[in-house]
Amino acid sequence: MKTLVYLKDVVTLKLDAEKCTGCRMCTRVCPHEVFAIAEKKAVIVRKDYCMECGACAKNCPEGAITVKSGVGCAAGIINGILKGTEPSCDCSGSGGSCC
């Protein structure tokens, strides 16, 4: 099956190659193989596949990665618009589908 990819050029992911030590942590936590290691440094190779989950930024020991992460779900965003806050969902958590 082909890999699903969402909208082009909207992702907020950024990598500061200066700070990177090539520890590979980002390649381990990313669920969409966005990073690869080239010459002992991380590089972003599949940016449009990024779902902005934030795992890489949270686990980079050097703080080399930034991404605006949050729940990318429509219900959450509508909630946010209605309440005038950042997107948030108040699903009680049954099933995998909350957000």
């Binding site: 934030g54 795992a55 605006k68 990318g72 959450g76 009680s92 049954s94 995998g96 957000c99």
Partner: protein, 343 residues
């Protein structure tokens, strides 16, 4: 919640630790179905804390889980034939993925749960295996500096754990990838269907009532005939949005979910048109295209919440244009449909 999955206990320096079964009993299976179908949005939880699988000792591996029982159940099933510990975090009954997003499956909770369960005294090694998706909420280097435990991110899916353990705790790229295969998508459909809740009764009822309106006052016959047809159309577009879209996701053109929904909604509507079921008047036909398009497009867009590859920036961008259009189309469609009653 009953605790039939607990079978005896394992003695440790820190007291008796409950041992869990690695097989599912009939009530586990039944409840899994109920959760999938969203029955009563039930709370399906396990008490946070430490559990044993098999006969673990101070050298056995520690797997970390959420206290949503489905997450816990999949983990204990995957640990079949192993001796291991399971550390259950208090994620307020939410699965790993959602809880990590909210931060309840997070660094702070993990650190405090390690202390509460006296993990330092129970095991000699300093390693924890977390589901990879937990990385969204847990910062491995922070856990290491605060507790001494090294976090190893395991595979995304619990079922890959035996292979992961067998290979010496190395996850293949395949295990790290979060795919969104047919079966995963289909499992989410029941929850999507229940999304509409009481609107599923309210809106069709409204159409039944309005369908009786006509140039000669109110006609009960019309209400039955047109109302019945309307309700079938409404449900068909609902079905296009929350069943067809998830199931056919990769094969529907366009990247935007709203457009995917629109395509499928209109295909369904066109099928009705082919059988001349959209009403006699051209205005009513247009009205139906507007309404069914709006409904299935909206529901499809809602599925971005369950999908595992959509980004927040992307969904926001999509919604900014789609939502006003959907609302306008639904309103215009409804108005046109009411006007068509009098033609």
């Amino acid at each position: 919640m009953n605790s039939k999955y607990i079978i005896g206990s394992v003695p440790t320096v820190f007291g008796e630790i409950p041992r869990v079964d690695t097989k599912w009993n009939s009530s586990d299976i039944r409840n899994t179905m109920r959760v999938r179908w969203n029955v009563g949005r039930m709370r399906y939880t396990v008490d946070p804390g430490l559990y044993a699988v098999g006969n673990p000792d101070a050298e056995s591996m520690v797997f970390v889980s959420a206290n949503f029982k489905l997450s816990f159940d999949h983990l204990r099933k995957a640990l079949h034939s192993l001796n291991a510990w399971i550390l259950v975090l208090d994620t307020k009954g939410i699965n790993v993925w959602c809880a990590a997003g909210k931060g309840t499956f997070g660094t702070t909770e993990l650190i405090s749960r390690i202390k509460i369960c006296a993990l330092l005294n129970i095991v000699n090694h300093r390693k924890l295996i977390l589901p990879q998706l937990g990385a969204v909420g847990v910062s491995a280097h922070e856990v290491k500096s605060k507790t001494g435990f090294q976090v190893i991110y395991g595979p995304v899916r619990a079922e890959d754990i035996p292979a992961f353990v067998a290979s010496g705790f190395k996850a293949t790229p395949e295990m790290r990838r979060m795919n969104f295969p047919m079966w995963e998508r289909i499992k989410l459909i029941p929850v999507e269907i229940t999304y509409g809740k009481y609107y599923l009764i309210l809106v069709p009822a409204l159409f039944f009532i309005l369908a009786g309106l006509g140039p000669f006052g109110y006609a009960v016959d019309d209400a039955w005939h047109n109302g019945g047809r309307s309700v079938i159309l409404l449900f068909a577009s609902y079905f296009a949005g929350c069943v067809l879209t998830p199931a056919l996701l990769p094969w529907v053109p366009f990247r935007r979910f709203a457009l995917k929904g629109l395509v499928l909604g209109w295909i369904v509507t066109s099928t009705f048109l082919a059988f001349d079921l959209l009403g006699p008047h051209i205005l009513e036909k247009i009205a139906w295209y507007l309404m069914t398009g709006a409904i299935s497009s909206f529901l499809a867009m809602n599925f971005t919440g369950a999908s595992t590859y959509t980004s927040l920036s992307g969904v926001q961008k999509e919604m900014k244009t789609a939502l006003p259009l959907q609302i306008a189309a639904a309103a215009a469609g409804l108005a046109a449909w009411i006007v068509a009653r009098f033609l």
